[in-house]
């Protein structure tokens, strides 16, 4: 009887926690803010998507006379997209232009190459530091932690000089090598993943005659392939969207994001077609945004789940 009473008390207290005024207030308050946030994000994106299909003339008329957001009349008129894809090009030096095909190719080379080599560097270093109990492993781990909190400001001029000295300035190879560092949060996530694999796995494989390379490539790396794929995807998205690094270190290899920066600033137009209008600019923005959005739709559980599983603690 007494036990039942305690049980009911516990239940009642739990209900009280869920339904108290303070809890309700929190729920309503947070919901309103988050809802407003979501609307503030969705509305501009939908508006931009709609405008990207409008002709520049209709766009200007609608801005003056109507509530432009409700104009779906020209949805899926692909004229702006066709014009951006056909006529947009960037001048990289006197008389040398890179068209949209070149921009896409550079984007793919930069984002795939850099994401691949950076993930690989992170994975290899995390593996040896986590699995081999050497003094050097401890030093590398400490260096990674220090580098993460050390606020180095203004190393860009020096980076330009060093790349130039090595003959790698303004080359795609230089850009990829510069990006292929191993330090950062993803090293720590992979390190934690490798650390959790029992030592018995190594010992059993060694008894079976496997060498270190075989153990790493056929046993250990497959065990963390989910985390690796997630990190690769995150890095790919980051490099795909990056325009500052190519702009500074490889001006002859403009990427799509770099091209968009040109369009936004009214450049990149060398024909009679005027690409310097809001609908054209937004059509170009959608061309970069949509592939990433599609990729995110298919991978958001992986992107937001696996990385969280590794999260930072301590």
């Amino acid at each position: 009887m007494e036990k039942n009473l305690t049980f009911y008390n516990v239940k009642a207290n739990k209900r009280k926690t869920d339904k108290s005024v303070a809890s309700l207030l929190f729920k309503i308050f947070a919901f309103i803010i988050l809802f407003a946030y979501a609307i503030s994000l969705i509305l501009p994106m939908v508006w931009s998507f709609v405008v990207s299909f409008q002709t520049p003339e209709t766009y200007l008329i609608e801005l003056k006379d109507q509530f432009s957001f409700y104009s779906f009349s020209q949805l899926f008129n692909m004229q702006n997209y066709v014009e951006v894809l056909s006529y947009f090009e960037i001048q990289v030096m006197a008389g040398v232009y890179v068209d949209i095909g070149g921009l896409i190719l550079n984007s793919i080379m930069y984002s795939v190459g850099s994401a691949l080599f950076q993930t690989l560097a992170c994975c290899l270093m995390a593996y040896i530091v986590a699995r081999f109990n050497f003094i050097s492993s401890k030093i590398i781990y400490t260096v990674v932690l220090i580098v993460m909190v050390l606020p180095i400001v203004g190393a860009l001029p020096s980076q330009v000089q060093v790349l130039d000295f090595l003959g790698l300035y303004d080359t795609m190879t230089g850009l990829i090598i510069l990006s292929s560092n191993f330090y950062g949060i993803h090293f720590l996530i992979l390190h934690a993943s490798f650390k959790t694999i029992p030592k018995d796995f190594n010992e059993a494989a060694m008894i079976d005659g496997a060498g270190q390379w075989r153990i790493m490539l056929t046993i250990m790396i497959p065990l963390v392939k989910n985390a690796l794929l997630t990190i690769f995807l995150l890095k790919f998205i980051a490099f795909w969207n990056d325009y500052q690094t190519p702009l500074l270190f490889a001006k002859s290899y403009p990427t799509l994001a770099y091209g968009l920066h040109w369009i936004q600033n009214g450049s990149g137009n060398h024909t009679d077609i005027n690409l310097n209008t809001d609908p054209h600019k937004l059509a170009a923005a959608m061309l970069i945004f949509i592939p990433i959005l599609v990729l995110f739709m298919f991978t958001h559980k992986r992107l937001m789940g696996n990385i969280a599983a590794g999260g930072i603690k301590g």
Binding site: F26, S48, I140, V153, Q264
Partner: protein, 311 residues
């Protein structure tokens, strides 16, 4: 006989050990070389560069001295300083972004962690700006704030309004708002991850004791994710003078002085400058690093000493 067996075994072990060392070295060689060249050498070169004086015409080094540091201090004490605005803006931006985005990030994460209505949808929405190119986001934001909002306000209320990013009075505020608006993604993921690591029994015990969500947040959740909070705050402090406030995608090389930050000033300077300008930027970078370094470590020390303890 026994000695021979031991010696063979010893040799085998030695060979195994060397093989392991060889493997370790071959795996580490390239990443470590990359680190030595692009981190250690780059930063060492940055120090050397800051001490050089370069002739603007011949681009030859004419002296090794502290002239660049002197020039920075002279600029800071001059009436029309180039650097004062970027430094003040960097500090203001850090203050407002930290004071708004850190608590909001924590509360939003708690909402998502408690699986309150539409938490999954909100989690995705908060993360989306992290995967969209800043160029795309700024382009959309600029079009909406400068064109769409004034047009909607005019349509709905008949009020003529200028673009919010074109007026000096609202410019810095809008830039800060934009940076807060797009900056929740990683925070939310990390906090929710840290919150999901809190033991169920601890949360249940607080609920049994009748703690409402606020009390549960203050006494159970926040102390448990405090270390993650410290990491975020430390990173924010470390990036005071690195943060470019996404000014480049907004304005390219032409951002107005009243919104420029040190990070932006250095990036644009490097992008548009030549070898003769680099020593000054390197010196500014070194001074900024020297200023931030003790700030980061003392903040971390204070946060750990005086912050809530998990137990």
């Amino acid at each position: 006989m026994d000695n021979k067996v031991i010696s063979i075994k010893g040799n085998q072990m030695k060979r195994q050990k060397y093989k392991t060392y060889g493997f370790y070295l071959s795996v580490a060689a390239l990443p470590v070389l990359q680190f030595i060249i692009f981190y250690i050498c780059v930063n060492f070169n940055s120090i050397l560069l800051s001490l050089k004086t370069i002739d603007p015409y011949t681009l030859e080094v004419t002296g090794i001295n502290f002239n660049n540091f002197k020039a920075i201090f002279e600029d800071l004490s001059a009436e029309f300083s180039m650097l004062k605005d970027p430094i003040i803006n960097s500090c203001f931006a850090f203050f407002w972004i930290t004071i708004i985005s850190l608590p909001c990030g924590l509360l939003f994460s708690y909402y998502i962690f408690k699986k309150m209505p539409f938490s999954g949808f909100f989690k995705v929405m908060l993360f989306i700006p992290s995967i969209v190119s800043s160029i795309v986001m700024t382009m959309i934001f600029r079009a909406v704030v400068n064109v769409a909002i004034p047009s909607w306000v005019n349509y709905l209320f008949g009020i003529e309004m200028k673009g919010l990013l074109t007026m000096d009075e609202s410019l810095f505020g809008m830039i800060i708002f934009y940076n807060i608006w797009i900056g929740f993604g990683t925070q939310i993921l990390m906090y929710v991850s840290a919150m999901s690591g809190i033991s169920e029994s601890m949360i249940e015990a607080s609920e049994i004791d009748g703690a409402n969500v606020w009390k549960q947040f203050i006494h159970v959740i926040f102390p448990s994710v405090y270390q993650t909070f410290v990491v975020f705050l430390t990173v924010q402090i470390a990036s005071i003078f690195i943060n470019q406030l996404t000014l480049f995608p907004f304005y390219g090389k032409n951002a107005k002085g009243l919104v420029q930050t040190v990070g932006y000033y250095l990036y644009v300077g490097t992008q548009t400058g030549t070898l003769k300008d680099y020593p000054l930027y390197s010196a500014l970078g070194i001074l900024a690093t020297l200023f931030t370094l003790p700030l980061v470590f003392s903040a971390r020390w204070a946060l750990n000493k005086f912050g809530p303890k998990e137990d």
